[in-house]
């Protein structure tokens, strides 16, 4: 299945600076594996050693978070769009809460 993959800024160095890739795969995991095959090192950035998606990344397949479907086993229909979004986080930690 052909799928368009949108790559966030933080991951573009791993794919030659490209913002959008066309990849193949029957599942989300296979699509990520396809990218790893042409851009070695990509997989290590997006997947944990146990093969699960890294916690700081969210992957949306056709507007749905794959974590709420079948994760990396989520089937990819033809002409899908996969959007990889890094978690956006931060904050004032360590807390400086006042007690007044």
């Amino acid at each position: 299945m052909s799928v368009q993959v949108r790559i966030p800024t933080v991951l573009r160095p791993q794919v030659g600076g490209q913002a959008v890739l066309v990849a193949e795969g029957a599942t989300v995991g296979e699509v990520l594996g396809f990218i790893e095959a042409s851009h070695p090192g990509f997989g290590a950035v997006v997947l944990e050693a146990n093969g699960t998606l890294k916690r700081f990344l969210n992957v949306f397949l056709n507007d749905e978070d794959v974590r709420y479907r079948q994760g990396l086993d989520t089937p990819v229909p033809e002409d899908s769009t996969l959007v990889i979004l890094p978690a956006v986080a931060g904050g004032s930690f360590p807390a400086t809460m006042q007690t007044a």
């Binding site: 969210n58 978690a87 904050g91 004032s92 930690f93 400086t96």
Partner: protein, 131 residues
């Protein structure tokens, strides 16, 4: 942004900023803090995605993120700097340390370095926002 930050007290508030092709900020998306914490934030991923879709449908792009420091200074914290992954985004911080005089500042955070960007509030005609 300040209203959202005050509404979310004592937790940190957060959201995204969208800009048009000229780089003018056009929308502040007030999103949920998935961490529900007074000292940290993480954008709700689903809302983040919806904001991206909305911005692009309007011909804009995501151009920044804002969050509040309910009790701390306006300068980005070490945590903010360490977790800033988008070099082209403006990072806006609203300090509510003085509830009567919130302070809002914008910063570029690149390679661990923080540079302030002066913010200018511009009033424009026609506040209509595409649905």
């Amino acid at each position: 942004m300040v209203a959202h930050a005050l509404f979310c007290l004592p937790e940190e508030a957060c959201g995204l900023l969208a800009a048009d092709e000229q780089g003018r900020l056009r929308m502040a998306y007030c999103l949920s803090n998935a961490e529900r914490s007074p000292s940290s934030y993480a954008l709700d991923p689903q809302e983040h995605f919806h904001a991206l879709r909305h911005a692009e449908a309007c011909g804009w792009h995501l151009a920044g993120v804002f969050h509040s420091h309910p009790f701390g200074p306006v300068h980005p914290s070490p945590n903010d700097v360490a977790r800033a992954l988008e070099p082209d985004w403006l990072y806006v911080v609203a300090s509510l340390a003085d509830r009567d005089a919130p302070v809002v500042r914008g910063y570029w955070i690149r390679d661990g370095k923080v540079q302030e960007e002066p913010l200018v509030v511009a009033v424009r005609d026609g506040g209509e926002v595409p649905g």
